[in-house]
Subunit: 151 residues, 2 copies
Amino acid sequence: MPSAYKGTPEEVLALSTFIKLTRSVNALLGQTNPMLQREFGLTESQLAVLEAVYHLGPLCQGELGQKILRSGSNVTTVVDNLERNGLVRRQRDAHDRRMQIVHLTNQGRTVIAAALPGHVGRITSLISVLSCEEQQELGRICKKLGTARAR
Amino acid sequence: MPSAYKGTPEEVLALSTFIKLTRSVNALLGQTNPMLQREFGLTESQLAVLEAVYHLGPLCQGELGQKILRSGSNVTTVVDNLERNGLVRRQRDAHDRRMQIVHLTNQGRTVIAAALPGHVGRITSLISVLSCEEQQELGRICKKLGTARAR
DNA sequence: CTCATATTGTTCGATATAGAACTGTACAGC
DNA sequence: GCTGTACAGTTCTATATCGAACAATATGAG
């Protein structure tokens, strides 16, 4: 995150924008993640896995990686920890034994159902320093930005 | 990162905005970080430390943590790795022996001077899918968002 | 059917990251 | 000069994260 870089006006604006963008995300996650950890003992990634399976039903690990935008090896680690904590279980697909289907346990369902409303409420509360119009504009710009590719 | 959550319209908008925001940052970092790693063997945090010392001069680790927004224990780790790789050296402050002043080595100065222009150029190139006005609006909104506090 | 290839997940090694407990140093008050 | 408190870093433990190498399984070509 460069800050005192001397470059063209174009670079100065882009860097300034980039820094504000990444800092705002860090600030938001810094408010939501420790809360998740304290109240439910969940990390952001663990929540993401539980939430995906909660809303979409049992998924194999590859699909989970797609949904939460993480590498396969990372999904293995996160699911390992969730399984150790009794929140999910793995089941080999009978038709394709390469696949590990990740299911919620009853305890996992209870935990995610308890954690989600507060988490969503907290995000909503934080984001609502912005007007609806600002949120929509932010969303539009971020979506455009998400398509950027290095030259 | 919830996605299929059923909540109030306010929550739906806030979550949608939040997801677009975090994904855009992930997308940008996913373009810049692997490049840094391949070309210069630097992680994002290592670059941040080198850049801070490059532009601000020798800093103690506490100040570094403030600049790059990381915990003290994390700064210790990152500086450990940079020191092992010969890019920085630690020097105890003579007047307050609690402090570790982090200096660039010649090699570190060479590396950061070589890495920065391309890195900045890459960020600029990515961000420039947005017009100047969009960048300014994004910066303004993110700055506002960065001040949000949980109720 | 057999073999080459592709796919899925795991393992390994490295780095990042945070909080808690700890060590060493400084400093203020007595 | 002691002593208690504050502060700077380190260590420890746990989790996340990636890429590369690997194992197991599936599948298509012949």
